[in-house]
């Protein structure tokens, strides 16, 4: 009986539930003995010239070892997109939270006292606090660029594209800026060894990419740096690679001659860790009254923040613009703008939630315009099963999908007809608590970077297995999932398999974890490495059994090599062959291609039309990422994804005032979703495999986030549609709902 597909509790948990994980702040290693503590002094103002920096008082403070500013940091500049992003702000600050100085003290408790004494004079400059303000180019933030608009793409539009449409709807919708806010903030520790190498302990999703970044920043050979990833308390894309602070810390450790420990406060994290989303999308959708969409146009404006570190996000949004639908005519464009706000980078979904939110809102707008049920309109336009593999007009090549089936399964599980009847009953009786139903049908791209992954296997002399993966899990339970797969493939018991990752000395070449790539690519790499090791072992076993290697097979159930069809003629164990010769394989799996998980979500909300309060009563989700290896971990990823997707729809926004000051800069003000706001999740399973990697799986890590945001958003609009509301932007806070209702009443 194969363990694959069965529910296995996690190996990772034994330590986590008894002693807690070992996150970077928990490290007690010899190399960090005598480490100083570090704190960045950050800009309190969104845009200003730095008139003066006086560190003299800070230098006198108790325990201060050093105070560094841009003038001290003699590293070659690095760029974010086309502009230089300084290591420490140099002459100008561009967002609240930008690092301006670095303070090192002997004791942790001395840091804030010393940092307060760094005296910086700011001369305020005009602030570009919004996308619209950036687009106007009234204040150009980087004069040498000549404009705030960067990376324009697409936009060759046909003025006649919508001519044959009976109905056309257009609207600009906001996909608001949010904070990833993993429970563990950013942290690092570093020490230069006597051998001249830098060891950097980093809370990251990609040790190897981080090493490259730090090496490049410091101007040293990557071989001179070792990055070790301890336990990581959540990343969600915001800990991809590493931020400029890590380079500065490595430099400061060298300059001061001391190892350094750094952990930011949560208030720093909320303004200085990259934010997510922050797009403004104009959708134009047109078609026939029977529900057929004939043309769709998506214009994306990406707020890049102060330093455009990740403008690729908007092109991913364009790539997935048409979602699960086949539209005859599709046009997309994107551009990014710089603003005086925290830089934007990947956050769970990274460009795809925005695409799904746009098309799913557009489908509902279209449905409302023609008076058809939103489920019906979707069915009319789905890509049909026989059309796979499907080449989208935007350049995506979808592998497999069953979109109608996913929608039907969810509507069935939810009792859609009954819910619509309940909604009608409430409307008829004038019930002030409105019921809203929101659908989203989605597809997303995982493993989309097409960069491959590493996998190395070693059979130890005692027959145990050590597997080195380039993937870098931080909560996904990948250690357990990979162990299950290897156990199944090799016939070695799970407790004899160890998974290693995150240390560049052990895994020098890797991409790491993001974009939901780890199981499909990291898993395929280990599958391939295991295949090679099995072949090696078969040759050795053949010798011992005096047979031809072609006649030897691995009996995976018992974990022994035998002559095919003649088990009685002898068995050779892994330990026996491993004693004889080194059994190892080191693989770069580069044969994967992007995969396209898909699904359907139905959200049921109640809206108190007097106060505007929205309550999510139910969410029914189908998320299909191919064959499920560990149902426990798979479900967990969907639950967590749902939580964050719902949070964006209903609650969370990183808000800035007109002066570029963040008004939601502490966890007391930022509406991070809590347990009482969420219902129990109702999941329906579906497994549609792919042929694009050795495991036939797609990535589940981001799918539920992508699917759930528009479902909840659409549900709130649906709840209010009978009162004349056609749209309101996320998050659907009580104030916004109330304002939408008030505006609709006035308009009538």
């Amino acid at each position: 009986m194969s363990i694959v597909g069965t529910r296995v509790v996690r190996i990772e948990d034994q330590q986590l539930i008894t002693r807690g994980g070992t996150y970077v702040e928990d490290l007690r290693v010899e190399a960090l003995t005598g480490a100083v503590h570090a704190m960045f002094v950050r800009s309190p103002i969104a845009h200003a010239r730095i008139a003066s920096v006086d560190t003299s008082a800070a230098l006198e403070a108790p325990g201060v070892v050093a105070v560094y500013t841009a003038a001290d940091v003699d590293l070659a500049p690095h760029k974010a997109g086309p502009v230089v992003e300084p290591w420490l702000a140099d002459g100008v600050v561009r967002y609240v939270g930008e690092p301006v100085a670095l303070v090192l003290t002997e004791e942790r408790y001395q840091l804030a006292d010393a940092a307060e004494l760094v005296d910086i004079d700011y001369d305020p400059l005009e602030v570009v606090a919004s996308i619209d303000s950036a687009l106007s180019d009234e204040t150009v933030l980087f004069p040498e660029q000549g404009t705030n608009v960067l990376s324009p793409h697409g936009g060759e539009f046909d003025d006649n594209a919508f001519d044959d449409c009976e109905v056309v709807v257009t609207r600009t919708i906001v996909n608001q800026r949010v904070a990833p806010a993993p429970l563990e903030v950013r942290g690092a520790a570093c020490a230069w060894g006597e051998d001249g190498r830098l060891t950097l302990w980093l809370s990251t999703q990609n040790a190897q990419i981080s090493r490259s970044t730090v090496a490049k920043g410091l101007g040293v050979d990557p071989a001179e740096i070792r990055v070790i990833t301890p336990d990581v308390g959540g990343g969600f894309g915001a800990k991809i690679g590493t931020d400029p602070e890590s380079v500065v810390l490595g430099w400061a450790s060298k300059r001061s001659g001391r190892p350094i420990r750094w952990v930011e406060t949560r208030s720093e994290n909320l303004v200085a860790m990259t934010h997510g989303r922050a797009q403004q999308n104009t959708v134009t959708i047109g078609g026939r009254r029977d529900g057929t969409v004939l043309a769709f146009r998506l214009e994306v404006v990406q707020d890049g923040g102060a330093y455009p570190r990740a403008t690729f996000l908007a092109t991913l949004t364009e790539l997935m613009a048409t979602g699960v639908y086949h539209f005859p005519k599709v046009e997309t464009s994107s551009r990014a703008v710089v603003t005086n706000a925290t830089p934007i980078a990947a956050y769970r979904g990274a460009g795809r939630p925005e695409a799904t939110a746009a098309i799913e809102r557009a489908m509902d707008l279209f449905a409302a315009e023609i008076g058809l049920d939103p489920a019906e309109v979707r069915r009319v336009n789905f890509i049909r099963p026989e059309e796979f593999p499907y080449a989208s007009p935007t350049g995506a090549n979808y592998d497999t999908g069953e979109y109608a089936k996913a929608l039907d399964t969810v509507l069935d599980a939810a009792g859609y007809a009954d819910l619509r009847a309940e909604q009608a009953r409430r409307r008829e009786s004038g019930d002030p608590v409105a019921l809203g139903l929101g659908i989203s049908t989605y597809v997303e791209i995982t493993g989309g970077d097409a960069a491959g992954e590493s996998g190395r296997l070693l059979i130890n002399p005692d027959g145990s297995v050590t597997a080195y993966t380039g993937s870098s899990p931080h909560g996904q339970g990948l250690d357990t999932t990979l162990t299950m797969l290897l156990s199944d493939q090799l016939g070695v018991p799970m407790d004899k398999i160890t998974i290693r990752h995150g240390d560049t000395d052990e895994v020098p070449k890797a991409v790491g974890t993001y974009g939901s790539r780890s199981l499909q690519l990291g898993g395929s790499a280990l599958r391939q490495a295991a295949d090679q090791v099995i072949d090696q072992a078969r040759a050795l076993a053949a010798d011992r059994l005096e047979a031809s290697p072609d006649d030897i097979e691995l009996n995976a159930e018992d974990g022994v090599f035998q002559v095919r069809g003649a088990p009685a003629s002898g068995s050779v164990s892994w330990a026996q062959v491993a004693e004889q010769a080194e059994l190892t394989a080191d693989v770069w799996f580069g044969d994967g291609a992007p995969t396209f998980p898909f699904g359907a979500h139905l959200a049921v909300v109640e809206v108190d039309t007097l106060t505007g309060k929205v309550v999510l009563k139910r969410i029914i989700a189908c998320d299909d990422a191919g064959p499920i290896v560990n149902p426990l971990a798979f479900q967990g990823q969907r639950h967590g994804g749902l939580g964050q997707g719902v949070a964006q729809a209903m609650l969370e926004i990183m808000n800035y005032d007109a002066d570029g000051n963040p008004t939601t800069a502490t966890l007391a003000d930022y509406s991070f979703i809590t347990a009482p706001e969420l219902p129990d999740f109702e999941l329906v399973d579906s497994e549609t495999p792919t042929t694009r990697n050795l495991l036939g799986v797609k990535g589940i890590g981001e799918a539920a986030t992508i699917g759930s945001t528009p479902a909840v958003h659409n549900a709130v609009v649906d709840a209010l549609s009978h009162l004349g509301v056609r749209h309101l932007d996320m998050p659907t806070t009580p104030l916004r709902v109330w304002q939408a209702l008030t505006d609709a009443r006035k308009a009538n």
């Binding site: 539930i17 008894t18 996150y23 429970l183 990581v232 909560g475 967590g640 966890l667």
Partner: protein, 156 residues
């Protein structure tokens, strides 16, 4: 000042700054690093420990206030026989943790919740854990874990 706190049954006595937060005393002076710091506004609950048997956010208690009192952290939850506490067992069984960062505080908050309310409803569990944030799990399996630990049925 000198602060003495009985932590997980052992008295830890150290000279610390008056302003030392209990969470730092636990992590640094007592060397118990399971208890984590996740915020600076008493919002996240990752630092939750038991103080004289009741859940508190140890970032919002001075070590000095706990002087002469008893603190229990995740590390002290196991029975003397070494058996896992029902909550520890249940969190693993129900997949009530992913990255694990919120988990020590979540488990200690749950312990206090069950102490006051041994057979909570699912909604009471959600309400009781409103002060503990989790980014990874979406809370569903955490509720399952607490229900499981309380000896009540869990429908997965």
């Amino acid at each position: 000042m000198k602060v003495s706190i009985e932590i997980n049954g052992t008295t830890v006595s150290e000279e610390v700054e008056d302003r030392t937060l209990l969470v730092h005393f636990v992590r640094e002076q007592a060397g118990l690093t399971a208890t984590n710091i996740g915020c600076d506004t008493t919002s996240c609950g990752a630092c939750t420990v038991l103080l004289d048997g009741e859940s508190v956010k140890s970032c919002t208690v001075l070590a000095a206030q706990a002087d002469g009192h008893a603190v229990t952290t995740l590390e002290g939850l196991r029975g003397e026989d070494g058996d896992l506490h029902p909550l520890q067992r249940a969190f693993r069984e129900e997949h009530g943790l992913q990255c694990g960062f919120c988990t020590p505080g979540m488990i200690m908050a749950s312990a206090s919740l069950l102490d006051h309310n041994p057979k909570p409803t699912r909604q009471e569990v959600r309400d009781g854990l409103e002060g503990n944030l989790c980014r990874c799990t979406g809370y569903h399996n955490i509720v399952n874990a607490v229900m499981n630990a309380s000896g009540q049925e869990v429908t997965r």
